[in-house]
């Protein structure tokens, strides 16, 4: 099962490699990982998308907690979080397809951020499923380049995790 895990870590040298090393060393999957400092500069926040059965997820979360630099681990599974991802998509746009690309971008509230006679570059954000959906429509028109941030997640409701 797919899990989105948020990890608050000390914003210190080497922490990313400790986390990445934990996943590779123990054979856990990482589908995506994004990391940046939080409002509290001493803390970084990672969002990791991973897969595994219940026992593996329990181990992942325990092993993350065991790392000395990890302050908090939150497993956001079960819909209590909002996830957003951004994609930058460079797509072939010539002759007839130019209008089609624009239409699709518009439907997904994408922005055109670069234009050439042969291509459009689209910026789109949304839940991972939305990104998948626009990609599916654009793929037949010719994807030249794709970059995705991987999702970030935040809990629903008034309560906030410090940092």
């Amino acid at each position: 099962m797919r899990h989105t895990i948020t990890v608050l870590v000390e914003n210190e040298f080497g922490v990313l490699s400790r986390v990445a090393g934990l996943f590779s060393g123990r054979g856990f999957n990482i589908d995506s990982l994004s990391v940046a400092p939080t409002n509290d500069e001493s803390i970084s926040r990672m969002t990791i998308v991973t897969r595994g059965d219940e026992q593996i997820l329990e181990q992942i979360s325990k092993q993350l907690n065991k790392l000395i630099d990890v302050i908090k681990v939150i497993d956001f599974t079960g819909g209590e979080a909002i996830e957003r991802e951004m994609a930058l998509i460079k797509v072939t746009a010539e002759d007839v397809s130019r209008a089609e690309v624009l239409r699709i971008a518009d439907i997904f509230r994408g922005k055109i951020i670069d234009v050439t006679p042969k291509s459009y570059t689209i910026e789109v954000t949304g839940a991972p499923a939305k990104i998948e959906a626009i990609l599916e429509l654009l793929r037949p028109l010719g994807l030249k380049e794709l970059v995705r941030t991987g999702p970030v997640a935040i809990g629903r409701g008034a309560k906030g995790w410090k940092g």
Partner: protein, 566 residues
């Protein structure tokens, strides 16, 4: 007062109560050694290889319960420590290893003797640090010791660049330290303990399965009291040997691959298993699907990752064994009559176990022509001091020691269990002897593993460390040969050591003494002579070359599928 970083390091060690360090000099630690030259409060021992230095610090830690300290220079010095660090990591032994590093300005430049030791040791340390500023030294050393010894203990490496050792600053050592990201659980949750005791008291066929956590958590007393109070048989892992007296009728000895018939039968047939400071290693469980198939499992461990890692657990308790066992003991005392009823209820179970003990005791066939290794181990027990410390190497001799020595006190067996590091025994004994100059320390080695760190004979002689070294010489890499005999048609590929080594002359070359026994009736005399001779001594026993360690659960088989006889 302003001090150099090197001096600050030594002051920190002193304030942590470090009296002995094992280290090897080199270019990037020369400033530390220069400070050490006039620093009298710390005794420095110079091993002949950095790996041995770390094993010695590890042996010191296992024997005393304190943090062991080792120092090495950058580059090759640092890489030589890796096996020692990984050994300590797998067995949860508290160490602080300090490595020199090239000056900060050169880091990343492929400088002379530069290696990314923090990167290399990340997966085999509990934590590690690179110090970049002299003002950080005191806090980081404080953190290093705190992390090494608390929670589930483990090795911590501190990498200290040369320019940071030379820089100066005011020295101030923090009295306490708090880490928002590291707060190990000490106390077991009272509700969980209560539930555990209720569950325990419903059992008719209970077994307590004890591991290294009871030794590192200093809870042998609590364990013994609980087992005695409730009449519960106790089996221990290799790492747990000594936590429960093996001469107690409730002791089942070792379990697992080379465990006793009765321990493995008891675990397979029990209806309740209380795992205390043990981690369900595959050498212990055999085939997971058939491990303790009828039992409810209670698991006490300070490290949540140990729980439910390999086996299902019905009742987990996270906390220090000492705290949890004493709470359990208290709760059972409050049960009064129920505890007495329980004691009576387990009588049939104890009788069943006694039957297994009688049917297949731990044994071997004595002969008059060749020395049986098991006989040597029994004689060593008989003739050694009751509080003697035994360090083993890795292989058949290690298992024979585990099966036949009869350990009764915690911290008297020092053995590399998790990593199974050949070459561990001699330097570990050296570290223990440095910690306890007045106690008898015995290193039990195979002829193969002894050769992996035999240069330490020099360190023993130089530092007057009177370790008694027993070499069980089968002229084979015996443990591997045993597998080849049983599972590879006796194709002894590269396990015969062939070249006969004159260990007696070897001892003499280092200025030590050596004695040899080739026949059973020479064993006792040889041991006595070795024990009576001052200083380090090698006693070499030419043993039956193809003796096997039995019982044996073949890898991947169920615990009750033991090979009992050859």
């Amino acid at each position: 007062m302003k001090m150099t970083g090197a001096r600050i390091l030594l002051e920190c060690l002193k304030l942590e109560g470090v009296d002995t360090v094992f280290g090897y000099p080199g270019g990037t630690v020369i400033n530390i050694y220069d400070e050490l030259f006039s620093f009298k409060e710390i005794h420095h021992i110079l091993p002949r290889h950095e790996q041995a230095g770390v094993h010695a610090a590890d042996g010191y830690a296992r024997a005393t319960g304190r943090v062991g300290v080792a120092i090495a220079t950058s580059g090759p010095g640092a890489t030589n420590t890796v096996t020692g660090i990984a050994t300590a990591y797998m067995d949860s032994i508290p160490l602080v290893v300090i490595t020199g590093q090239v000056p900060t300005a050169l880091i990343g430049n492929d400088a002379f003797q530069e290696v990314d030791i923090v990167g290399i040791t990340r997966p085999c340390t509990k934590h590690n640090f690179l110090i970049k500023d002299v003002r950080e030294i005191a806090t980081i050393i404080k953190k290093a010791f705190y992390i090494a010894r608390t929670g589930r203990p483990g090795p911590v490496l501190v990498d200290l660049p040369k320019d940071v050792q030379i820089a100066t600053t005011e020295f101030h050592y923090p009295e306490t330290i708090e880490l928002r990201s590291y707060k190990p659980t000490v106390e077991g949750h009272p509700k969980q303990v209560e539930k555990a005791v209720s569950l325990l008291l419903t059992a008719k066929k209970p077994v307590i399965y004890v591991g290294g956590g009871v030794i590192s958590g200093d809870a042998a007393g609590e364990l013994r009291a609980l087992a005695a109070k409730l009449n519960i048989p106790v089996t221990t892992t290799l790492m747990g040997l000594g936590s429960f007296p093996e001469d107690d009728p409730l002791s089942l000895g070792l379990l697992g691959m080379h465990g006793t018939y009765y321990a493995n039968m008891a675990v397979t047939n029990c209806d309740l298993l209380v795992a205390v400071g043990a981690r369900f290693d595959d050498r212990v469980t055999g085939k997971i699907a058939t491990f303790a198939p009828h039992a409810k499992i209670i698991h006490v461990d300070v490290d949540p990752t140990s729980i439910r890692k390999n086996v299902r657990v019905d009742l987990p308790i996270v906390g220090e064994v000492k705290d949890v066992l004493s709470k359990m003991l208290k709760a059972t005392e409050e049960q009064g009559d129920r505890a007495d009823e329980f004691r009576k209820g387990v009588e049939p179970w104890l009788a069943e176990i006694a039957g297994w003990k009688e049917k297949h005791p731990i044994t071997y066939k004595q002969t008059s022509a060749t020395i049986k290794p098991q006989f040597v181990i029994q004689k060593l027990r008989e003739l050694s001091d009751p509080d003697a410390i035994v360090a083993t190497d890795v292989g058949q001799h290690q298992m024979w020691t585990a099966q036949f020595f009869t350990f009764t006190k915690p911290r008297t067996l020092l053995s590399s269990g998790g990593l199974g590091t050949m070459g561990f025994g001699l330097p570990a004994a050296m570290g223990a002897q440095a910690a306890f100059p007045g106690r008898q320390v015995i290193a039990i080695c195979g002829d193969g593993g002894f050769q992996m760190n035999m240069q330490e004979l020099a360190t023993l002689v130089q530092n007057r460390l009177p370790v008694k070294i027993c070499i069980l010489n089968n002229n084979f890499l015996g443990m591997v040969r045993q597998w080849q005999e049983l599972f590879f048609d006796k194709r002894y590929s590269q396990t015969c050591l062939e070249l006969p080594i004159d260990f007696i002359k070897l001892a003499e070359a280092f200025g030590a003494k050596g004695f040899q026994a080739t026949k059973p009736d020479e064993v006792e005399e040889t041991i006595k002579k070795a024990f009576d001779t001052p200083g380090p001594v090698i006693m070499e026993f030419k043993i039956a070359r193809e003796e096997k360690v039995l019982p044996m659960v073949p890898a991947g088989a169920s615990l009750n599928e033991m090979v009992l006889n050859a």
